[in-house]
Symmetry: C2
Subunit: 328 residues, 2 copies
């Protein structure tokens, strides 16, 4: 099924969305917000699924035409966002271009950080930042959303805790990240609030794209109207969602609504392009000695859309521009 949140209060109002994103119906009678649904997922999943089926059959009472512009992020604030750097070509290129290497144990265990888990913007929301001199960039990702995950779960058992997937634009500030990582305490100011695609989608809805480990399909990325990436998301990583979840769950339980991302999607084959400008610039540095593709200036647009084998949008698109904070 597909779930989304109408703009209301801090957590949005949960709605069930039809397969074609054309219509929707309130889920308030089942759970007022997506977080509250995830908090009681075993109790509400069946009712949400039944409502989804009714909606798709054109039989849901009080169904309405969905206006994507009315949507907030499906989960505007979450208790945990675990973001990885699972695609080696992404992090290898970025670090090589600035003369740095991968952590020695990169392939032994997934590289994951605890990221900002609140302030998620809607798919079309203008990204407001204090300056466009910070190296503004996008990062295209597919994030899993879990239910309660118990401490000690195995990588094999972990994927069963994934209840939804969502498209994420993990916004990054390239000038702040390298000096911040040098301080060893991880990402902080270099990672402002991010954005989510319009709908969260259950694993079963993905059909053959979800093999229980990775989500296949093609991540299409446009920068200032130009396509810069057509990346196959289901390959070129030694780690899957279960590995990341199990790694972090070694010493903690997760709250429902935990977001788990594999990091910027990337393929070994350079002709696939890139899921962020930083990697494009890294390839330029490595090939030509200097980066030429500019990072985002205020007024620029980014667009991300993940397509299935029939070129249908799986999660809906993210399409945003950047603007100064004081123009709010």
């Amino acid at each position: 099924m597909k779930l989304a949140s109408l703009r209301r209060d801090r957590d949005g109002a949960l709605i069930v969305v039809s397969r074609d994103l054309a219509s929707a119906v309130s889920a308030a009678g089942i759970a007022p917000t997506l977080q509250s649904a995830l908090d009681r997922w075993p109790q509400v999943e069946g009712a949400l699924q039944a409502l989804y089926e009714k909606l798709n059959a054109g039989q849901a009472q009080d169904a309405f035409a969905l206006r994507l512009e009315d949507l907030d992020a499906p989960l505007p604030r979450a208790y945990q966002f675990l973001d990885g750097a699972a695609y080696p070509s992404h992090i290898t290129r970025n670090r090589k271009a600035r003369g740095e290497t991968l952590p020695a144990d990169f392939y032994e265990k997934p590289l994951v950080y605890q990221g900002i888990s609140h302030g998620f913007m809607a798919w079309n929301e203008t990204v407001r930042l204090p300056s466009d001199d910070l190296g503004i960039d996008f990062e295209a990702e597919i994030c899993a959303i879990t239910d309660d995950v118990p401490m000690g779960v195995s990588a094999e058992d972990a994927p069963a805790h994934i209840k939804l997937f969502v498209l994420v634009n993990d916004i990054s500030l390239r000038k702040l990240i390298p000096p911040e990582l040098k301080r060893t305490f991880g990402f902080l100011t270099g990672k402002p609030a991010s954005s989510m695609g319009p709908v969260a989608v259950t694993p079963d809805e993905l059909g053959g794209l979800w093999d229980g480990k990775l989500v296949s399909g093609t991540m299409n990325c446009w920068v200032r109207g130009e396509r810069v990436g057509t990346i196959e998301t289901g390959k070129d990583t030694p780690f899957h969602y279960g590995h990341l979840i199990a790694h972090v769950a070694q010493t903690r339980n997760f709250e429902p609504g935990t977001l788990v991302g594999l990091g910027t999607v990337s393929n070994d084959d350079e002709s696939a392009g890139c899921g962020c400008i930083g990697e494009i610039r890294a390839l330029e540095v490595l090939r030509d000695g200097a980066a030429k593709t500019p990072l985002f200036a205020f007024g620029d647009e980014v667009r991300i859309e993940h397509l299935d084998r029939n070129s249908n949008s799986v999660f809906g698109r993210i399409q945003q521009t950047f603007a100064p904070l004081d123009a709010a």
Copy 2:
């Protein structure tokens, strides 16, 4: 005023607690949970304060005798936990003992990481971990709890966003932290869920202990029944709460309920003892060439209590033992 949460559901049930922690009254008519109160703080603060004054005057209807054993953490799950390493003596001793140095820009801007913000345990809850071979340690901290903090707030204006303070035992796994920090993505498996003192306290309740920058008083720490630290918390740090908030808020807004800690309290004067075993062991290494105080084994107890100038407990005490996960 003093607020706490009775154990109920995932977020607890908000109660107002009397100044002497002897009695309490439900705040359900004002806000069901502490998070919901913080989400609407300007609308509910007056009503909570009025109820607190009635309770202290013995005039609150339906007041009941408070049993500390019935309490959950005041805020069992939050959207953000920003934890610093603001007391230089703590981090200097720890790193020196393992042959490492401080980040070059340590004194220029506060060192802060995004930590696990869910799973906060009650003051007396047994800490369950997969093994006591991970180097289990406590860290005594006082955390601020903020309301909505706007991006770009100054260090001078930031403290006005602090609505509550709470005692925190930031549990740490010493064997996991150094290799994890070497990977540059910050703390993750080395920081399992932490614990909170029984009550959250408003800044005005602290009287002269709160100078708008730091909380004074003495942090008393006991390990296996032996007092190991009597640390003055209002000195020996170049950074105050406002500095930490402003540093992170450069590129993000905060959700209400954000926790901000200065890290393990520590004094330049070694005779004050330590707010964690790791620092005791670091001092032993530096003085004697080898650490002799053991980290926690299952069955050991830690106790933390912050006292005012009259030796009264400011936030209530944390008193916990450690046990294996599968003994739950």
